[in-house]
């Protein structure tokens, strides 16, 4: 049973760390209806900045807000390209993502590793003071859980503010926003900024956890994010009281659990992705089971 518990802790931790990214994709894809490909660039951007700051001895906790600010800038650029220069949404994200690949390498030099003597958010003094009695994997779980929940709550509160409601309106009914005499362009930019702030934060935490930045770590993260949003929202479709943020958090954990299940089953390594795809399908089918007819959101 011990094995299972460790496996569960490790898997849930991964899910929670990547849930931060999923919140970002939830905002752009689900709320703004904006397929934002910036993610593949802003995720490693957060990690690159973090790796450099950590090796230069900055306090581990301070690396998080810095990474978030840099991520916000990435979102701002995509937003400006789209809104001010009139470039299509998909293309605006691709442009920023492509540019970020070079910028990330410029920041970090090349792939970077952080040695064990350097403290991360999981080993820094404040963490040790609170959770020092726990083993490292539980500390990773707790810190990731706190981050995932804190940002979930902040988003939940934000979505009910005037600005948050406008954000939701842009995706649902952009004409309404215009009739309210609000500029929907700036609302979109704001959404992209918030989303990429979260994505970069996720990259930063992954860098803390893995003690490494790699230039290719962003590849496929948009797809991951979309999958978690769809899994989460499909599963909780009939449960109106479950917040979207909670749903994507669960979606992210389930995604990581799918991969871990495929690994644990000892399936031929090259079939991993195929098995993961089948597991997704099973989840989506279970999620849709009680629904009759075709759901346009699925």
């Amino acid at each position: 049973m011990n094995n299972f518990l460790d496996l569960l802790v490790g898997t849930v931790t991964q899910g929670l760390i990547y849930a931060l990214l999923s919140y970002g994709v939830y905002i752009t894809y689900r709320i703004l209806d904006f397929p934002d490909l910036t993610v593949d660039g802003s995720f490693p951007l957060g990690a690159a900045v973090t790796a450099v700051l950590l090796t230069n001895g900055l306090d581990p906790y301070l690396t998080l807000p810095v990474a978030m600010l840099v991520g916000a800038a990435a979102g701002l650029i995509t937003g400006l390209i789209h809104v001010k220069l009139g470039v299509r949404d998909l293309l605006a994200g691709i442009i920023t993502m492509t540019g970020l690949f070079s910028i990330n390498l410029q920041i970090a030099g090349s792939n970077m590793a952080i040695d064990r003597a350097t403290d991360t958010i999981f080993t820094a003094a404040p963490t040790m003071a609170l959770f020092g009695g726990m083993s490292l994997i539980y500390r990773k779980l707790i810190v990731s859980l706190i981050l995932a929940i804190v940002f979930k709550l902040i988003l939940d509160i934000y979505f009910n503010t005037k600005s948050g409601l406008l954000l939701r309106a842009v995706g649902d009914n952009s004409v309404l926003v215009t009739t309210l005499a609000k500029d929907k362009g700036s609302v979109k930019i704001l959404g992209l900024v918030i989303a990429n702030t979260l994505v970069a934060l996720s990259g930063a935490v992954v860098c803390h956890e893995q003690r490494a930045f790699s230039s290719t770590m962003g590849t496929g993260q948009v797809v991951f994010g979309l999958a978690t949003v769809i899994i989460g929202t499909t599963l909780f479709k009939n449960l109106g009281f479950v917040k979207g943020t909670t749903a994507v958090m669960v979606g992210s954990i389930l995604y990581k659990a799918c991969i871990q299940a495929a690994i644990s089953l000892g399936l031929p390594a090259n079939l991993l992705k195929l098995v993961t795809a089948v597991l997704f399908l099973v989840i989506l089918v279970i999620g849709n089971r009680q629904k009759s007819g075709v759901n346009s959101n699925a």
Partner: protein, 321 residues
């Protein structure tokens, strides 16, 4: 709510079964995490198992292998490493740098020994301290430069393509640039950021009039080697490989390490750890000093290069007849 419970139940069953399977095995489990399927890395893994056998250990009696590969995906490598850690494997064998980084992070809590192989620069990758050791596949740069000098006595410039984000490639290009002049060569390095740029960069080097190309163990470059060779063959520029697999594809020659040997050396180190004769923490990482000359006679003939007798004697013919 019902369907959520059923989804969670499915996972609980799958994970419990998997965890249960791991426990029923009695001999120490060696978890091999390979970054992806790749000829050199596969050779390395096969050599590793052979090394364990050479040391007198019997598979399924003295050790059990659990092999996983991440399909070149960092996040998957992380989860593989966590799986090994949760199943309390006796040690983790990591093939290539990203796999080793992930294993070392996952092993930190339980202090499971990590043995790596096929890493060029363990110091740069911060994998030289702690309960970790292994073997490095540092290129025999001197031998390669000497080989090129002997096969092309008139050559002046060597073109090298490399990925700027690969620390292995960056350190290798540095060594080439430092040692090139000793053999009378100018090194024309050209960096790329991703695989799609490699063939364009090859065109640039050919246009610059380099006398030959020499490869590193750069995955992006080696991955599109056939299309590079198409261009260089047309231009009449020989390409030197960095290991045997590249010579098989059509490079003229290489002074390269044998990845099977590298794996075997790693296997022997692991045997010492399993027997309790040494710990990973106290063993320094090893580099392989032997290398072989590999030649592809067909490719050499096409380029009109004569192989001096001293090389021909030692070289291993690796081209397809």
């Amino acid at each position: 709510m019902k369907r959520l419970i059923s989804v969670i139940a499915i996972f609980a069953i799958v994970l419990t079964l998997a965890a249960g399977c791991g426990k029923s095995k009695k001999p120490p489990v060696i978890g091999i995490s390979q970054y992806g399927e790749h000829a050199s890395l596969d050779n390395c893994r096969e050599g590793f198992v052979q090394g364990l056998k050479d040391a007198g250990l019997v598979e399924n009696e003295d050790f059990v292998i659990e092999y996983q590969n991440a399909g070149f995906d960092d996040a998957t490598a992380t989860q593989i490493a966590q799986n090994f850690s949760a199943n309390n494997v006796a040690l983790m064998c990591a093939i290539a740098t990203p796999a080793a980084t992930a294993c070392f992070a996952a092993a930190e809590d339980k202090d499971i020994p990590v043995i790596f192989t096929a890493i060029t620069d363990p110091v740069q990758a911060k994998l030289d301290k702690g309960n970790i050791t292994g073997t490095s596949d540092k290129l025999p740069v001197d031998a390669q430069l000497e080989l090129i000098r002997k096969l092309q006595p008139e050559a002046k410039t060597i073109g090298i393509l490399y990925t700027t984000s690969e620390p292995n490639s960056v350190s290798a290009i540095g060594e080439y640039q430092e040692k090139g002049p000793e053999y009378g060569f100018t090194i024309e390095g050209l960096g790329v950021t991703q695989q799609s740029e490699v063939t364009l960069a090859a065109d640039t080097l050919i246009a610059k009039g380099v006398d030959c190309l020499s490869n590193l163990t750069d995955n992006n470059v080696v991955g599109v080697l056939p299309s590079i060779l198409e261009k260089t063959n047309e231009a009449g520029i020989p390409v030197y490989g960095s290991e045997v697999e590249q010579v098989k594809i059509g490079c003229v020659a290489a002074a390269g390490i044998d990845y099977f040997e590298l794996g075997r050396q790693t296997g022997k180190m692991v045997a010492k750890i399993l027997r309790g004769e040494a710990t990973a923490a106290e063993m320094p990482y090893e580099t392989i000093s032997e290398f072989n000359y590999y030649i592809n006679s067909a490719a050499l003939a096409e380029m009109g290069i004569d192989v001096p007798a001293e090389i021909a004697e030692k070289a291993i013919e690796s081209g397809n007849q």
